[in-house]
């Protein structure tokens, strides 16, 4: 979250800085909680794809004094947060699972969430596929450590085939809801799946293995995912379901699509945390120095 002209228009962005959140997405989790009371009685919590850490901040503040153990996992390094154990690790790695279970003293988790999203390319089908892979990777780990009846919350992009995911999740949870917090822009495809009441598939023993793809991982779970057919025949369309939609947050809350006029001369606030360097940092520096070849 940089220090930019966004300050002027996005009230959530500004409020995040004022209230010390590392990203405006903190409000999304707060609004999801408002609707679903997600934090009631949870003590073992996992935040996946956690960097820069705004959801962990929310969890830490909301669960303060409740003797909760919060683990935040990301491939990127994260600035520490009070009351949160941050680990820099791959969520598909069996060691990561073991580390989390060790922190929980062998107990299962009550709540797993993921606000992760890949960089989009602009090829919608590829982007949706990669996002689905990210959710499935989070779900893999979740099925290995979530207690029956537990909750899973993850960011989704509502596009083609989102109804396949809804259908697959409905095999694993009592209730699957597509929730849209008011802090999430209406113009964005972003929403959150709130999966309540984990019900492990009978007879299925999920096991993380680096040699197993997400498709192979869920093969035995029988959740309506199409496998390979003989001679690669085009499968009949897979099971699709439409999850119930719930808008979250107070209707009188700040509207993330609206334009607000702020009083002039308000100080621009320093960001709570500087953004991490992008992979193309060197290219930008070269461009600035005029070292990029144009012709």
């Amino acid at each position: 979250m940089g220090k930019s002209s966004k300050d002027k228009r996005d009230l959530y962005y500004r409020r995040a800085k004022e209230e010390g959140w590392r990203a405006r997405s903190a409000f999304k989790l707060l609004q999801l909680n408002q609707e679903f009371n997600l934090f009631d009685g949870i003590t073992r919590v996992v935040d996946l794809c956690a960097a820069p850490g705004s959801w962990s901040q929310v969890l830490s503040r909301e669960l303060q004094g409740k003797n909760a153990k919060i683990v935040a996992v990301d491939l990127q390094p994260m600035t520490p947060i009070d009351g949160v154990t941050t680990i820099q690790a791959d969520i598909t790695h069996p060691n990561t699972l073991q580390t989390i279970l060790d922190i929980f003293a062998g107990e299962q988790a009550d709540f797993v969430c993921s606000d992760g999203a890949p960089d989009v390319t602009g090829l919608h089908d590829l982007d949706e596929y990669i996002q689905a892979q990210l959710i499935l990777s989070a779900l893999q780990l979740t099925t290995c450590l979530l207690k029956p009846g537990g909750t899973f919350v993850a960011k989704i992009f509502r596009g083609r085939d989102i109804d396949l995911l809804y259908s697959q999740l409905s095999y694993l949870f009592e209730r699957v809801i597509c929730a849209k917090p008011r802090a999430s822009r209406g113009t964005s495809l972003e929403a959150f799946i709130v999966c309540l009441g984990y019900k492990p598939r009978p007879g299925w023993n999920p096991k993380l293995d680096l040699q197993t793809s997400t498709e192979e991982f869920f093969e035995g779970a029988d959740i309506g995912k199409a496998g390979n057919l003989e001679h690669f025949e085009l499968p009949d369309d897979e099971e699709r379901k439409i999850a119930k939609f719930v808008a979250c947050g107070d209707i009188n809350d700040v509207d993330s699509d609206a334009t607000y006029t702020l009083e002039l001369n308000r100080l621009a606030l320093e960001p709570v945390q500087m953004p991490t360097a992008p992979p193309y940092k060197k290219a930008l520096e070269m461009k600035r120095r005029g070292d990029l070849i144009r012709r």
């Binding site: 509502r158 849209k180 209406g186 439409i242 699509d257 609206a258 607000y260 070849i293």
Partner: protein, 973 residues
């Protein structure tokens, strides 16, 4: 959770797809064919070498039901594999071209990265770095992997002549893995990049590897050692395609998000890849997704973009010859002084005539220079202008005193003679204009003294002087002439000048009219006749600042000039242009570059880094000639190698389309895109782009027709433009008026939507709704001339603080209602009957305020029904609501409700017949609904237009916009 989603596919035959424009996701050159993955459609083009290389479509068919073709693989025998997402298909090109192809779509349960043929197997690399080795006879398979199942963004398979098969895998986490298919061993794990790997290839000899990543660099590695040999920096954003040249494995082509095509070469010992060529401005918007290169047979590159365009590029080296003054001196024996320079020149059919500043005249032909001798050379010493008529081999050189040297090159021996001036007295000539039409050749002489008339000389085709006309200069201090045309139908002369001013003369009576300040720019650089008929002349006027105008000059008792079309290039100056088979071509300078630009099709034809416009330059049909450092003549050939300058397929916007509208007569489609342009297209045999209007600078929201003559568009930064549309053989469009924004500037303040009703001819009640909850009602009288009379604000009020998404105006029995739908899910109606007189009102209390959706009312359509209205709304909450509104109190009854009408946001509703309407939603399913007692989905069909965001209907045809544009016919209405 509601039941199974049965409305993702239902009675698909009710929809018949007509035309589709969208991302070109794969391209392959094979022999004399170009194969294109146009989303799910396979297009095949045939190249035919005549005088020009022609490329014509020979095959087009949607081969995948849902998935896009991301990769095309073909063997030297024409065995073809298409793949993309989870789908693949094996074909024989010969059979396909003969219409006998067996288009059997197959699928695996994973994303396919690439595929390749190896002996009798098809190798399919999936996104988990696993290769399916598929027996092509039985379609039985083995899975082969290298123990490293990282998620891949990219990958390729190279089968070497010796049978070795290398899999090159580009992972999401900065690594390139090269592994051997047979041994299943990892050969290299290359970690030199940062960020996701978007492309990796091994050359066909197995000597090099090339890769690109999110770090925006291209790296070439030595295969044997896995060390980086050279890195190529230059792309301004991500790189999507990499191809080795077929005949030269140290040359590479790349394309990317920055819409550039770049050619690179590795030179041993140089740690930087050398950029040989860079082609920009060949696609619109963002992303060249696909490309291929043929450096063996046709010397071409082909690229395909997010704009749906397919474009050929010439690989041949640019032909450029340079001659310094010393060179000219040594060839001719002429002696030039230290301060001498190349004054001016003129290109004839077979030679170039060059005037040196000392008055020497030389002729350049067959790569050599020779002197042209003539009398009174001293007259051309300090000043001269060289013009001519190449069709009759005439060069005209004007001297300062107004004398004209005529050089006739018709016969082998040039004939040179002077025409002595009799008109200018002691005044000095400043400009010489020439024009020919109908075998008449006109030469006009201009002096700065406004009391001295222009001298117009008319010659015949043997260049005998036929007539001299003296024309009074316009009565203003400085009328600097820049260009002229003579209309032979009406015998009119039009002279262009600075300050975007033109003078029109009737040569029969020498009466004159002056038209000043036609647009805000400075100098008119060129004026041209588009069409001419009795008393009506269509003129193209080009302005240096990048503006171009289509105008109509008419004469009744006096001249009248009407601007019918006005647009401005976003960057670059215009020096000239022409219209060729209804395409507008413009040329000029953009910083240090000279460019030629096809404005109709939006691509650059050529460019030349010449240093800018302050030098001497001239454009001939196949040459651009300019002077470098005042003393070096540069002749840059323009090789017109391709039919249509290499445009194989014209697409649409290069960014997401936010709104579409069809003109009331059904002839035009206008679209508003995220790229801030409004495109105007003709609807005949598809959607044919004509104009790309650049007047908006902010993100567009909506575009609609107000009536058959006017349309309007709204955008961020409070931009609202009313356009006038003139239908002729091509539609003409100009900004007619724009609403003035609020006093406090706010770039984010978006005019989300608008609605209008026409009170009388071209008089409207208009309502605009804003992202800050503002609602404004205006009275717009387009018959008036001045803004103050034309635009009156009637209502200025706020709804709440939330963003308003939709608005409608309803009028019945002298009553007028305003209806809005907002992000809070409510539909609100006010009776505004008493608010329509011209003093600023507040809205007052609403008469209806009803929540219909959980959040955003994304789509809203209302139409008359029985005695009242029917309202249909679609929401971000996937729901569809049908309401009836009873007149006179507009009581709202919900009569139909479907909670899960789509699996994601409903983005638009288009009415297609009585009781029937079509919805689009971001789940990429288009549905026909019927409301007749109950709400029923009649049909549902997948569209390949992602980010499906808008639609418009005309009769039974619907147009669907998003990341591309499709038209469908609705059957059985």
């Amino acid at each position: 959770m509601s039941g199974f989603n049965q409305i993702s596919s239902l009675n698909e035959v009710e929809f018949a797809p007509l035309h589709h424009y969208g991302p070109v996701t794969a391209l392959k050159i094979y022999k004399n064919y170009v194969l294109a993955g146009y989303g799910p459609i396979l297009k095949i083009y045939q190249m035919t070498q005549g005088d020009l290389l022609d490329v014509a479509e020979v095959f087009c068919k949607q081969v995948f039901s849902r998935n896009k073709i991301h990769h095309i693989e073909i063997t030297s025998q024409g065995r073809l594999c298409l793949s993309g997402a989870r789908s693949f298909m094996v074909l024989d090109l010969e059979e396909v071209l003969q219409g006998k192809g067996n288009f059997k779509e197959r699928a695996i349960n994973e994303w396919i990265v690439t595929c390749a043929f190896y002996e009798n197997w098809l190798l399919i690399l999936n996104s988990h770095n696993v290769v399916y080795k598929v027996d092509l006879a039985s379609f039985e398979f083995d899975k082969v992997h290298c123990q490293e199942k990282s998620i891949l963004y990219s990958g390729s398979i190279q089968v070497l002549d010796n049978g070795t098969v290398y899999v090159a895998a580009g992972t999401v986490m900065s690594g390139v893995i090269i592994w051997d298919l047979h041994s299943r061993k990892i050969v290299h794990n290359l970690t030199d990049h940062e960020g996701s790997i978007f492309g990796v290839k091994v050359d066909k000899t197995g000597k090099y590897i090339v890769s690109c990543s999110d770090d925006r660099s291209i790296k070439l590695y030595d295969f044997a050692s896995g060390t980086v040999l050279a890195t190529g920096w230059g792309h301004g954003s991500r790189i999507w395609t990499l191809e080795f040249f077929k005949g030269d494995n140290v040359k590479i082509m790349s394309t990317g998000e920055d819409c550039s095509l770049r050619l690179w070469q590795y030179q041993e010992g140089n740690s930087q890849l050398v950029q040989l060529e860079m082609v920009e401005n060949c696609h619109s918007g963002k992303h060249i997704w696909s490309g291929d290169v043929d450096d063996l047979e046709y010397q071409v590159c082909v690229t395909g973009g997010a704009d749906g365009r397919i474009k050929l590029h010439d690989l041949n080296k640019v032909n450029r010859t340079e001659y310094s003054l010393q060179e000219i001196s040594s060839q001719t024996g002429l002696v030039f002084g230290k301060k001498d320079f190349i004054r001016d020149y003129f290109e004839l059919k077979d030679r170039l005539i060059v005037l040196i500043s000392n008055g020497d005249l030389v002729e350049y032909s067959d790569n050599s220079f020779k002197t042209i001798a003539f009398n009174d050379q001293h007259k051309l010493k300090d000043f001269a202008i060289v013009k001519g008529f190449s069709d009759i081999n005439i060069v005209i050189i004007a001297a300062r005193n107004g004398d004209l040297l005529i050089a006739d090159f018709t016969s082998d021996l040039p004939q040179l003679s002077w025409i002595q001036d009799e008109y200018l007295g002691s005044n000095k000539l400043t400009n010489l204009l020439v024009y020919s039409t109908d075998n008449k050749y006109y030469v006009l002489v201009d002096v700065p003294n406004p009391n001295i008339p222009f001298i117009l000389r008319e010659f015949d085709s043997s260049f005998n002087l036929v007539n001299v006309t003296q024309l009074s200069q316009p009565n203003q201090t400085s009328f600097t002439t820049t260009d002229m045309v003579v209309d032979s139908v009406n015998n009119w002369l039009v002279i262009a000048s600075r300050y975007v001013t033109i003078a029109a003369y009737d040569l029969s009576t020498t009466s004159m009219a002056l038209f000043k300040k036609l647009s805000p720019g400075d100098t008119i650089t060129s004026v041209q006749i588009i069409t001419s008929k009795t008393n009506e002349l269509a003129l193209l006027i080009l302005v240096k600042d990048g503006s171009y105008l289509y105008t109509t000059l008419t004469l009744s008792t006096t001249f009248h000039l009407d601007v019918t079309h006005a647009n401005k290039l976003t960057k670059g100056f215009i020096e000239g242009g022409y219209i060729k088979s209804n395409k507008l071509v413009l040329y000029g300078f953009k910083s240090s570059y000279f460019y030629i630009w096809n404005e109709t099709c939006q691509f650059e034809i050529m460019n030349e880094l010449c240093g800018g416009s302050h030098r001497q330059w001239k454009l001939a049909p196949s040459k651009f000639i300019y002077v470098k450092d005042k003393t070096t003549l540069v002749i840059r050939n323009i090789a017109h190698r391709f039919v249509n300058d290499g445009l194989i397929h014209l697409g649409t916007h290069g960014r997401e389309i936010r709104d579409v509208a069809v003109s009331p007569d059904g002839k035009l489609l206008v679209s508003a895109s995220e790229d801030a342009t409004i495109a105007v297209s003709q609807l005949e045999d598809g959607v044919k782009g004509i104009w790309s209007m650049n007047n908006h600078i902010s993100g567009l929201q909506r575009v609609k027709f107000l009536n058959s003559e006017y349309m309007a568009s709204s955008a961020a930064n409070e931009e609202f433009i009313i356009w006038k549309v003139t239908q002729s053989n091509i539609p003409l469009v100009k900004e007619f008026v724009r609403l003035k924004p609020s006093a406090v500037e706010n770039p984010d303040l978006r005019i989300m939507n608008f609605a209008s009703i026409e009170l009388e001819s071209n008089v409207f009640i208009l309502v605009t709704v804003y992202s800050n909850s503002n609602i404004k009602i205006w009275r717009i009288d387009l018959n008036k001339e001045h803004y103050g009379d034309m635009v009156k604000l009637l209502v200025n009020d706020f709804y709440t603080t939330c963003c308003i998404l939709n608005v409608e105006l309803l009028q019945k029995d002298d009553k007028t209602w305003l209806m809005i739908g907002a992000t809070d899910g409510y539909v609100t109606i006010w009776d505004v009957t008493s608010k329509l007189d011209p003093e600023e009102h507040k809205l007052g209390a609403s008469i209806i305020h009803q929540q219909l959706h959980q959040n955003g009312v994304k789509a809203m359509e209302v139409f008359t029904h029985q005695d009242g209205y029917r309202l249909i709304t679609g929401g971000d909450d996937n729901a569809l609501v049908v309401c009836d509104l009873q007149v006179p109190d507009l009581k709202l009854d919900i009569v139909g409700y479907e909670e899960s009408a789509a699996s994601a946001t409903i983005t638009s509703i288009s009415v297609v017949g009585e009781h029937k309407f079509v919805t689009t939603s971001v789940d990429q399913i288009v549905r026909i609904w019927e409301y007749n007692e109950g709400l029923t989905c009649l049909s549902a069909r997948y569209t390949t237009i992602a980010d499906t965001g808008c639609s418009a209907s005309m009769g039974s045809t619907i147009y669907i916009g998003g990341a591309g544009l499709s038209s469908w016919k609705v059957n059985n209405l």
